[in-house]
Symmetry: none
DNA sequence: AATGAATGAGGATTCATTCAT
DNA sequence: GATGAATGAATCCTCATTCAT
């Protein structure tokens, strides 16, 4: 019994299913049929709502980044002063919404996808640009000309911790420890900033 | 014109072709046929020398790590004192043999593969253990109880820089700048160590 | 022009095509593609409805045995007295539905398949057990302790006649003569029973 | 170090390996490479001695029938009188040389092969003709006009017992009981002959 | 809106067979 | 005589995608 206004519901279900599926299996074994099944619909319907598999991946990537962006923006409004802003950006990335194992695993797949898919490359560039500019905005008043180099290192450190987290022990068992992760980055930040 | 003793030659050619192919396309589009073609043989012969696709991937991963290990060992013998040893480990990772774009791209694929393939997981664990212990050996005398945390951060930073490098601009155009990469890590090291 | 409720139709068509194909060619040359073509569909669809080739073979074997079982049961209800029951079992096996050349040829292939495929072995065991018990039920009142040995011989004779029929002149030309076949077994039965 | 006169040795080894392989696996999984390996040589050499796979099968079939024929001839010279001749033919078929599990299993495969391979069909026809004429020669003086029908039944019974033996319990465990097998056929013969 | 039906294209893998050495 | 090298031709199977209902 088809209902009206199902479109956004279906699309969201598919996007979430895509992320979960990427987390559960290697991207090589993620099929449209399995995503659709996980989302509780036929694969034909998945194609109806998205043009094809790549579109679903892109939508899932966009979804992930949108949540990340919202998290960061939310943290920034609370932050007072440049240092607090930098720390807010760091902490937001490791918050419970972004640092879930499926999300991290899916994210890694999106990154690889960006190597061949122009749309994904564009999205990735946006993320990287935003992260960089967010860090820079806070760092510039604190570190002057050093800000660029520090932003690069802090950004790379964040990505590296993500990467390591995404690959921890193959299947997704233990919840990643976002607190410890951000503690590491904050410690690095502490050492980077002039006293 | 079949000759004798082709096995090692063919295997090496296939391993290199696998790495190149992973560098050139996303792992999703790497087929045995294309690897074999790039290595100048039929896909049947590739299956003859390796059990199957996964074996080829594992062999390529092993090859990559073997070269990395040799590079590190070579750098370590020249190093004098703990600080020099840590720096040697860092520099070796960004040497021209390891920091080539195809190698980095292939490496990322191997990392993702480790999420689902036990053999790859084992190899990755070996690499990570070795990196960690190498760093720790040098850091312990320099930083005492802090050594563990520092090793974790330096290791993650290295991985993060690799990751960013591997995804730079999709296709492989510009040679990655290993010098700048290791300069970043060395700078972070400098800030981590007590004065 | 896809319609609904095709599944049972397609499955039956595939099962019949499997039997026919086994009859027409040696099992070595029976491919999924050819079965599907004979059934008027793509091989992909055949894989969609059955898990794979082995499943198709098992389904065909099950189909054959189901028809055989129904034939026997039908004959048994009409039979009056033990002797009539034994004769009914014999005649049913050589009835026109079971003694068609393709069916016999397919049956032989199933028997060989049972040597390596556990599922086929199970089905074959069921058939053999049923045949034996059917014969025994009728023979016991007629032959007492001899019943077992007689059942074994009659059963083997039936199988032997099937075998010879299945291999008559390679390709399937002449309709096998079920009447003559069962006449032979009935004659043997007559000689086995005490006067 | 190639030796002279290897040809008959190699050929025999391949023939035996073919039979054993047919006994050990289903005919579907018997490959030239495996036969050659079992015979201790390369598959290329197998092709050198036999034109191809089919030739190897035919040679193995011929070998099997030759042994069977020799066994029968040997038994016949000792037989005195028609009844003894018939019994000798029966017993020879179930002698230890012919009733080995691998041989029986291979035989079944040859029979199926005869449905599609003209050479195999010819060989099978020879065997069947010989069996029939051997039985007839002994039966004619004993049963007159009934001889034909009896020969048909006894022949089919022999084949049926072979068939059942060949499929006993999938893999080849227990040695088949040739004594019991021939006892069954002899019992049937006893009942067929007029008193 | 939703789905079962259907397929073309492709991919890993196997294997009989050939050839130069 | 013997073999490693090599491949073309299948074969099974999967999957994204389309279409009629």
């Amino acid at each position: 019994m088809p209902k009206l206004g199902m479109e956004p519901i279906r699309r969201l279900a598919l996007v979430k299913a895509t992320i979960d599926e990427l987390g559960a299996r290697g991207s090589r074994d993620v099929t449209v049929a399995r995503i659709a099944a996980r989302a509780g619909m036929s694969s034909a319907l998945a194609h109806h709502y998205f043009g094809g598999k790549d579109d679903m991946f892109l939508a899932a990537m966009r979804h992930t980044l949108r949540i990340y962006g919202a998290e960061v923006r939310g943290a920034l409004v609370m932050a007072d002063g440049p240092r607090a802003r930098v720390e807010a950006v760091i902490r937001a990335g490791f918050g419970p919404a972004n640092f879930r194992p499926e999300v991290v695993a899916a994210g890694l797949n999106f990154w690889l996808l960006a190597r061949t898919n122009p749309g994904a490359a564009r999205l990735l560039a946006v993320y990287q640009g935003r992260l960089r500019s967010n860090l820079l905005h806070g760092l510039r008043p604190l570190a002057g000309v050093q800000a660029d180099a520090i932003a690069e290192r802090i950004g790379a450190l964040i990505d590296g911790i993500y990467l390591r987290q995404g690959l921890r022990h193959g299947p997704l068992e233990t919840r990643p420890d976002g607190g410890q992760a951000s503690a590491h980055v904050l410690a690095a930040l502490q050492r980077e900033l002039p006293r």
